[in-house]
Symmetry: C2
Subunit: 435 residues, 2 copies
């Protein structure tokens, strides 16, 4: 029977964390995958700079250090790119697509910046270009958005799409640790890189929300279109206030589409109501929350990174492409980002805000502050005064929905007031009851 | 351009709650769907007993009361069955498949009992048989399981897959209402039927877990294979104890596969650790949680019923089939339930348990009870004694993992003890730390 079974050959570019995982999964679950798919999926060649690493995972796998050995091999029908970085990954994928090969990748950098070219090449050659693993690791989200939810007009997509920062914020919330302390712990545990900028600064999440927004809104949201703010300014005081006011602080990627108002995309620490489905997504877990018509609300939860979960998504794409090859319909679902929708300028994004500041602890200060907000057309929902620090008092306000533009004007006016010693932090709030 | 656009014609069987929703969605999101799919999807005929109901939704839609007008119409390529009930829905779908038409349905009764026949017919005619809406309404779960997670060896699938009972248990937990009271409220709000047996008794959830288990384990889990227990015996006392011990009570469908030990499937009220992702799924929301290798944990959350969410899933399937028609690959992903795996007898299912009982409030009673457990090889993790009722005391124990068989023996032995007045309730616990 094995003899008559069709075989689909793969060329694997890179066998590091994720590529190694793919080798393991295709071996460990071989029988199961063969039965489910009706064909044998075989890695035919691995592009590797250190063949000994590949041999350590599976001694039977042939390696090569020449991309031509893979993209020119007529027996290989799927090229799986797991090298990372923009170059030469982009050029290798282009060569593969031009050679009529289906391409599977986990490379969010390339997809976020060169998705359009790659999709066009794939369409021209009637092949698949699949990248489920590029966003939220093992969580099925790209295919559900493009297929299961394809009848929906999506208005909002919002996600915890960086595990490192979610781990850090969870620790800060549950164990009252401070930012520096928890960053060190995350680095020690291997959850954060020695240079943590991409994670902590929100740039990794920005790539992913750009990809999600592009698919959800059938547009082309580039990295430059995403407003980005990291978590480094979040202090344990903010987390305590959030808790008291019924919120948790999460680093969210948020993309919205308002009819006639364009698309917005941003990444920043966000105060989220405790009863929101994303609020209980803790530790390194990721989740993507979607609002659309007719589905209403939906959420997808799981592990956003790591060798095996990410390999799950890559292998899911390999299986998808294999099924398309067997049914003669590769390229079946192509690019759905056919529009160039206008982006809402960040200044026009409206959301409620949390503002923590230090003010003179003296009579009349409230009136002064309230009128500064009022003059700048910022309405206040909640005001909290708790802590006294000598002659200063710490106060916190939650505003109703306010544009970034109006907020900056108000903050500017406030900081010029004699009674305001310092604006300590401003955090956006995601709370539909305040919009 | 609209003239040159290809058109795919649908025959709709039944335009009630969900069918009406499909009519609305295909109209409201027409432009968007046409662009995403590259073809126009048009309802060509509606099978209806009350054509005036169809006209009220869309006056332009032709209706018929003869199934032949649809299954014999060569222009119709997708038949969408939304009549409900087993007959004649089954016969109509069979006729459609025999006529070479793709079939989309939301009918869990038919899928759970006649899935095999329908899949075989679909395979013989190289057409699609899709039923995303049959489980968990708008939540994408069938396609993610069959496609995105296709490389996984699934060990556990566990879901809150009945909205009515989840609403009831949420009210009982958050507002301390009693079962009878909350059932009446759910009926008044239209969340529960006047005859609530299918929901409250767990039978609706049983159909859905049978379908999920079949797909997850590539086997054929029938309705008769599912052990079923409803929520009618859950009292507010149990909910309070659960809370105190760190659990919430949910009606779960649970299906597990242990290598070499077969498959098990059951529906019953379950104590779930508060930190489990399913524990915060409240009100009418549904969610399906999956454990597998390599993905680890994943969860899918959303609305499990209702006109629009269910129509989202049905229209997702219609789009899937349309894309397959356009690419010439209908039947691309067929039945994946190719094995007949042995079912583990319910007596052999092992899980920790919660037991609440009334005992004589006198010295030595603990020793007597503990030894009755011990003699029946049931180990206790937690013992709580709180309430005194005259000469009686209410005690609660949580056991470590115990087989249903051993549990029944122990319960039998306990109830024969003179010091035990009554065993009030036994609830299974889902807690991986106790297994
Ligand atoms: N790790 C995750 O959890 C995760 C999650 C989601 C997505 N991703 C994405 O998956 C991709 C791979 O990530 P990773 O974590 O597996 O990275 P990695 O561990 O650094 O693996 C990359 C592998 O590619 C090889 N490679 C790089 N450039 C090469 C070249 N020019 N020729 C031949 N081999 C080359 C490297 O070889 P050497 O060993 O010789 O350096 C290494 O084995 C990235 O795009 C990443 O963003 C990763
Ligand atoms: N409602 C939900 O939230 C939901 C969620 C998931 C799945 N589902 C499934 O979706 C299916 C439809 O449910 P529903 O809630 O839409 O039911 P429904 O509101 O009762 O609608 C059924 C429709 O089918 C029509 N019909 C029934 N038998 C017919 C026949 N022999 N010939 C012509 N028309 C016939 C009925 O016509 P009349 O008006 O003349 O009676 C009615 O309009 C069921 O399988 C259900 O299990 C429903």
């Amino acid at each position: 029977m094995a003899n008559k079974m069709k075989q689909i050959n793969i060329g694997l570019l890179g066998a590091g964390t994720v590529g190694g995982g793919v080798i393991l999964v295709l071996n460990q679950n071989r029988d199961l995958i063969t039965e489910r798919v009706g064909a044998e999926i075989q890695i035919k060649k691995v592009l590797a700079r250190h063949p000994e690493k590949v041999r350590a995972l599976d001694a039977s796998l042939p390696t090569t250090d020449k991309i031509e050995d893979i993209v020119n091999d007529p027996d290989i029908s799927i090229v799986v790119e797991l090298m990372g970085r923009e170059h030469p990954a982009l050029e290798y994928m282009e060569a593969a697509l031009r050679g009529g090969k289906n391409v599977v990748t986990a490379n969010k950098d390339v997809v976020a910046t060169h998705g359009k070219e790659l999709f066009e090449l794939a369409a021209a050659h009637h092949v698949d270009f699949l990248f489920e693993a590029a966003v939220a690791g093992g969580i099925p989200i790209i295919r559900p958005l493009k297929e299961s939810l394809a009848a929906n007009r999506i208005s909002k997509i919002m996600g915890i799409i960086n595990g490192t920062t979610n781990y850090m914020l969870t620790k800060m919330t549950q164990e009252h640790m401070d930012f520096a302390e928890v960053l060190k712990e995350a680095q020690d545990k291997g959850y954060a890189e020695s240079d943590p900028t991409a994670d902590v600064g929100g740039f990794d999440a920005a790539r992913k929300i750009a990809i999600l927004a592009s698919i959800a809104f059938n547009s082309r949201v580039g990295l430059d279109d995403v407003y980005v703010e990291g978590i480094d300014k979040i202090s344990s005081r903010d987390i305590e206030y959030a808790d008291e006011l019924g919120y948790v602080i999460k680093l969210l990627g948020i993309a919205k589409q308002k009819e006639g108002k364009g698309v917005s995309a941003r990444v920043h620490p966000t105060m989220l109501r405790k009863d929101h489905p994303l609020a209980t997504v803790n530790d390194v877990f990721n989740a993507v929350y979607v609002e659309g018509q007719p589905v209403g609300e939906a959420m997808f939860f799981g592990r956003g990174a790591g060798r095996m979960p990410t390999a799950s998504a890559v292998c899911g794409d390999i299986i998808e492409s294999t099924r398309n090859i067997l049914a003669g319909c590769t390229g079946r679902v192509g690019c759905t980002c056919y529009e160039a929708k206008p982006m809402l300028p960040p200044e026009e994004i409206i959301s409620p805000c949390y503002i923590r500041m230090l003010v003179e602890d003296q009579p009349g200060v409230w009136a002064t502050i309230a009128s500064a907000f009022g003059e700048n057309k910022v309405s206040l929902k909640t005001v909290v005064q708790k802590r006294s620090l000598g002659t200063l008092a710490e106060i916190v306000v939650i505003t109703y929905g306010v544009s970034e533009f109006a907020l900056r004007k108000a903050a500017d006016a406030l900081s010029k007031l004699a009674v305001v010693a310092r604006i300590c932090n401003i955090i956006r709030v995601e709370d539909s009851t305040l919009e």
